[in-house]
């Protein structure tokens, strides 16, 4: 009983460390590709805006372009937002693969069974270090405004050069994605 409760406590502590230390992006599951995929992707990064205006407190979708005075984004429809009305913005530039990393940490922790008595060092190294690394990983693809200026966010837009002059704005929609659930395809609503 003592052993089991000890393991349970340790697992709970590990879960707390991981959960408390993770960045929240509200990006739909699988919307952003892994870094290697994003190198060749033609769409913009996922952006979540918090506005000053109470009527449209939050906007989430694909970053389309950043200009001198406006930010353009799209969910089901195209939005032009005055930069002066944006209180904060969070950009997710790629999928950090947090679950993959957590799986790797679990596998790594399990593999220390091969380390003999040295597992008293290597297992905590994986559990504690792995939890911290996983938490860190969730922050790596994130750019936050105002901590980062617009000039750092602009290259991750669909049009890093700015919005094309003759563009039919009504034809621009957020990149579609498919979770295998038709009801969610193309939706800008975030996953829990």
């Amino acid at each position: 009983m003592r052993g089991r409760s000890g393991i349970g406590t340790r697992a709970l502590a590990l879960a707390c460390i991981v959960c408390c230390g993770c960045a929240i992006t509200h990006a739909p599951w699988g919307w952003m590709g892994y870094p290697a995929e994003e190198r060749a992707a033609a769409h913009g990064a996922w952006v979540a805006l918090r506005l000053d205006s109470p009527s449209a407190a939050q906007l989430r979708g694909e970053l389309i372009a950043v200009s001198e005075d406006s930010l353009f984004m799209a969910d089901r429809t195209f939005h032009a937002v005055a930069r002066s009305t944006i209180r904060s913005a969070r950009l997710l530039t790629y999928n950090p693969g947090t679950l993959l990393m957590a799986g790797g940490v679990m596998l790594g922790t399990g593999s220390t069974i091969l380390n003999g008595w040295a597992l008293i060092f290597t297992a905590p190294m994986w559990m504690i270090g792995g939890a911290i690394a996983t938490g860190m990983r969730t922050f790596e693809p994130i750019l936050d405004y105002p901590a980062c200026g617009w000039s750092r966010l602009a290259p991750f837009a669909r049009f890093p050069q700015g919005l094309p002059m003759m563009l039919d704005r009504s034809s621009i929609h957020m990149k579609s994605y498919n979770l295998g659930s038709p009801g969610l395809e193309g939706s800008a609503t975030e996953s829990p």
């Binding site: 003592r2 892994y34 870094p35 290697a36 994003e38 190198r39 060749a40 992707a41 033609a42 769409h43 530039t93 790629y94 999928n95 693969g97 993959l100 990393m101 799986g103 790797g104 940490v105 596998l107 790594g108 399990g110 593999s111 220390t112 069974i113 091969l114 380390n115 003999g116 008595w117 040295a118 597992l119 008293i120 290597t122 297992a123 190294m125 994986w126 270090g129 792995g130 911290i132 690394a133 996983t134 860190m136 990983r137 790596e140 693809p141 290259p155 991750f156 669909r158 049009f159 890093p160 050069q161 094309p164 002059m165 003759m166 563009l167 034809s171 621009i172 929609h173 990149k175």
Partner: protein, 520 residues
Amino acid sequence: MGRLSILLMLSLLVATAGCGPSFKEIKRETLTRSDFSTLMDDDVKALGKSSPYMKVHMRNGNVYVLEDWSTDSTRQLIEGYGTLYSAQRDVLDQRRFRIGVDSVAIFETNVLRTSMAGRALTLFMGITAAVTVACLANPKACFGSCPTFYVRDGNDARLVAEGFSASIAPRLEATDVDDVGRTAAGGEDFSIEMRNEALETHVVRYVNLLAAPRSHGGRVFADLTGRFWESRAVLPPSSATGPEGDCLALLMNVDDAERYSKTDSTYLGAKETVEMEFDRVPEGPCGLVIGCRQTLLSTYLLYQAYAYMGSRAGYWFAQIERGNLMQAQNPVQKMLGGVEVMTQDTSGAWRVIGQIEEYGPLATDVHLVPLGTLPGEHVRVRLRMTKGNWRIDYAALAILSGAVETVRVRPYAAIKDGRLDDATLDILCDSAKTLTTLPGDVYTLKYHLPDTSIDYELFLESRGYYLEWIRSEWIEEENPSFLAEMFLSPRASLTRLAPEFKKAESGMEDSFWRSRYARP
């Protein structure tokens, strides 16, 4: 490596290989037309290598995603195989493109770099793999050989003895007496921690303390026949010389600074000698005190024998139980031998006076070899042993004052997992019963020394045997011919195994101690 080990290692490697690219980060940069036109050839080459994809954004919102791109020397054209997307990001075309730089709005490059988190994970994987490989690559250096006994000095547990190392089967059950290296006053309590730190089943009949009364300033030593001798004076050697030269400093104290050598590269049974001199030796009976333990040569050869037994290990152990195959007849161990103690007779010829054969590579044990009364004040003693088979930590000449009777003290309490364990205590106090321990088991045994005003020198008396768990990686080496060779032609075995042992010898001690079993 065992199948499970290989599977786990493969899983880890596959996971690493599969996840590796996912744990990168992107460094994205944009270049204007003028930036692009000023790129030097070397810059283009480096950029092409680090960013194999080039995104060419056009003024109308279209974008080319080019792979394996290149540019002409004047930077007027860029070409590559890729996909053209519309502003709505529909695919318009997919082929090799040549694009005039004049019509480009901006260039975009993406360089992948290993992230901090990825680096941390790689480091953890490297450490784990290194520890795993060190242990698995040398399975015959994995921690083993009998129960270990620890005494606590404050928070530190110090290994003081290993019990019945040669008792590898029920028929070979034996009593072992080890010098604990501690003294205690009568009436005091004394605790010993007994651990099973190897992949072995230990069967322990009893663990008693032998308390040898000693006078003030005296020492008590156990000889090879189980008798105890008090010594009022202990003389350090005035010189000690091995094949490597002066080794006196290593033999002066029981301090883990040991004198040892490497095995012979062609024959594992090759012998060597260490010669010691003692000056101003008083008249009277004396004995040579030696603190020593074995290297891992014997353990390696024992595990090699298990490996040759392979899947038929059970059959061979049954033969031992039937008395058809006695450990005492093991010719390989016989050829390796113990530490022979030699003195010169009146004609100057060297004669063997006694031999230390205490087995075990873990704890240094202190033994006394009585030499009798030697003529003259200047005494020369020679140790002869197999090269690379013994680690000598201490040597001295004890002037013996007489035999000593010890008091046998049984444990009054046994503690396991922080709780009193009366069942274990009952077993250890009844020599008709045996205690079976498994890897990771730890027992603390408490003793109360007789309530007298005298001091005691403490010895541990343990009896039992142990069964080595046959590792799957050993079974893969099953070879009845080589097993027969070990018994029928030990010299050939020790010659054949020499190169293989030499390959592992240098890292063996380290691997051995790192492979101790601890319950997670």
